[in-house]
Symmetry: C2
Subunit: 246 residues, 2 copies
C-alpha cells in the first residue's frame, strides 16, 4: 500500500528557534524531507538533523515548490519552509497554485508563524497595536506604481505601516521614494523603528523618525515600522496607543 | 536583597497550544503570577497549573495592566497574556503607557505570537500572501469615521483586508457598512474567508464572496479575510498569487 504523502508549508518565525511554534516544530520533526532556501535551512539546522535536506539559493522558489509537491505526491512526508509566516509573502500561495495547475491531489497543511513585523514590533515596544498595513517594497514581481499607490493610500489612512524588503544591493531608490510619499502625510517627527535580523543573531534596533530614517543601515534583512499620527516614544520604546483611558 | 521583577507581555497565539511559541511557553513557565482575561487563562490552563492566577472578565484591560505592573514593580515575575500577538490590538501598548505615566522603571518583555489573521489564513489556504491591511471594526475606542475611511482607502489600494472584531451582540451594522464600502471597489465575486475560532476548539471555516458573506455566522470570535483583485479559489482554498511565474 502506498503511503499517503503530505506537504507541510511551515513558517519558522523570525529565525531564533524560541519563536518557532510547537506545531511548526512537530511538522518539521514528522517530515522526512525538508526543503528550503539555504539561509532558512541553516536557522533550523538543530531540529532537522539526520533528515534529507534539499536546499537552494534565493530565487529558486518555484523550483523548490515543484520539487516539494512532486515528492509529497509520490507519498513522501515533506516540509517546505518559509521564514516568518508561510502565508505572508511566503511559499503557501505558490504551492497551491502549482498543485492546482498540475492537478496534484495531495494533502497540504500550512503552519502559521510569527512574521518579521511582529518580531520587530516586540523589540521596539508596541508600535503596531492598532490598524496597520504591510507593504513590500520589492518590485521584482509587483508593479512599482501599485506599490507607490499603496504607500500613499496607507499613509492617508493613518495606518501604522510595516515595510518588508525595504532595500537590496540593487534596489536602493524605493525606500527613498517611500519616505517622500510618507512625508506628504505625516510629520518629520513620526517615530520610525528599524530592526535588522529581528529576533535572530546579530539583531540591531534603531529608534528614529521620518526625518532621520535614511541615516540608518537598511537592507533586505531589515523590517521598518512607521508610526501613525498618535505613535510616540515612551522610555525608549515606540508605542502606538490603542485608545484606552487609564 | 530585593528580587528584580519582570513583566512578560505574552501573545499566546490563536488558542490551540500547538501554536504557542517556545518563548511564550518559557515566559509563562518562568512567571510566578499569570494575569489575563478569563477566556485566555482557560486556553492556557494546562501550562500554568499551580501558579497564582489573576483573571478578570472583558473590559478589565487597564485594571489588569495596572495590577501586573504593580506586582512586577514590587519584584514579582509576572506574565500578562493576550490572545494572538500581544502587540496587535493586545496589551503591550497600554502596559508601556501606564508604566511611563506611573514612572515605573521595571523590565518589560513583549513576546510575539501568531495573530488571528494568520491563524485564519493558514486554514483558508493562502489568502494574504501579498500586501495587506488589518482593520478592527470595533468603534469602542476608535472613531467610526476613521474606520470607514481606512476601509475605503484600503479597498482602493487593493490590499488584502483582514477584519478583526467584525461584529458583537451590540455592534451589528459595522460589518454591513464595511461590505458596502468594499463593494464600491471590488467585484461581488471577490473571495472572502470567514473563520470562527481559528486554530482553536470549535473552529468553523467558510469560503464565500463579497456578495454572500453576510449569510454566514459572524461574531466577535470571527476573523474575516477579503481578497484583493487577484485572489481566487483553487481546489477549495483561497489563494492570492504573489506573482511568481511557474
Amino acid at each position: 500500500m502506498k503511503q499517503e504523502g503530505i506537504l507541510y508549508v511551515v513558517g519558522i518565525g523570525p529565525g531564533n528557534l524560541e519563536h518557532l511554534t510547537q506545531a511548526a516544530k512537530n511538522a518539521l520533526e514528522s517530515a522526512d524531507i525538508i526543503i528550503g532556501y539555504t539561509t532558512y535551512i541553516f536557522l533550523i539546522k538543530d531540529i532537522i538533523m539526520g533528515k534529507k535536506v534539499i536546499q537552494s539559493p534565493m530565487k529558486g522558489e518555484t523550483d523548490r515548490c515543484k520539487k516539494a509537491l512532486e515528492l509529497a505526491h509520490k507519498g513522501e512526508k515533506v516540509a517546505i519552509v518559509s521564514s516568518g509566516d508561510a502565508g505572508i509573502y511566503g511559499m503557501a500561495g505558490i504551492v497551491y497554485e502549482i498543485a492546482q495547475r498540475e492537478e496534484m491531489n495531495l494533502k497540504i497543511e500550512v503552519i502559521p508563524g510569527v512574521t518579521a513585523a511582529f518580531a520587530a514590533a516586540a523589540v521596539l515596544g508596541a508600535p503596531i497595536m492598532h490598524d496597520f498595513a504591510v507593504i513590500s517594497l520589492s518590485d521584482l514581481m509587483t508593479d512599482w506604481n501599485l506599490i507607490q499607490k499603496r504607500l500613499e493610500l496607507a499613509a492617508k489612512a493613518d495606518f501604522v505601516i510595516c515595510l518588508y524588503n525595504p532595500k537590496s544591493q540593487k534596489r536602493v531608490k524605493q525606500i527613498q521614494i517611500a519616505r517622500e510619499i510618507l512625508m506628504q502625510f505625516r510629520t518629520l517627527q513620526t517615530p520610525v523603528g528599524i530592526v535588522k535580523n529581528a529576533q535572530r543573531e546579530n539583531q540591531e534596533i534603531f529608534l528614529t523618525n521620518l526625518q532621520e530614517m535614511l541615516n540608518y543601515p537598511i537592507d533586505m534583512f531589515t523590517t521598518i515600522i512607521i508610526g501613525n499620527s498618535h505613535t510616540k516614544i515612551l522610555n525608549g520604546k515606540i508605542v502606538t496607543p490603542r485608545g484606552y483611558q487609564f
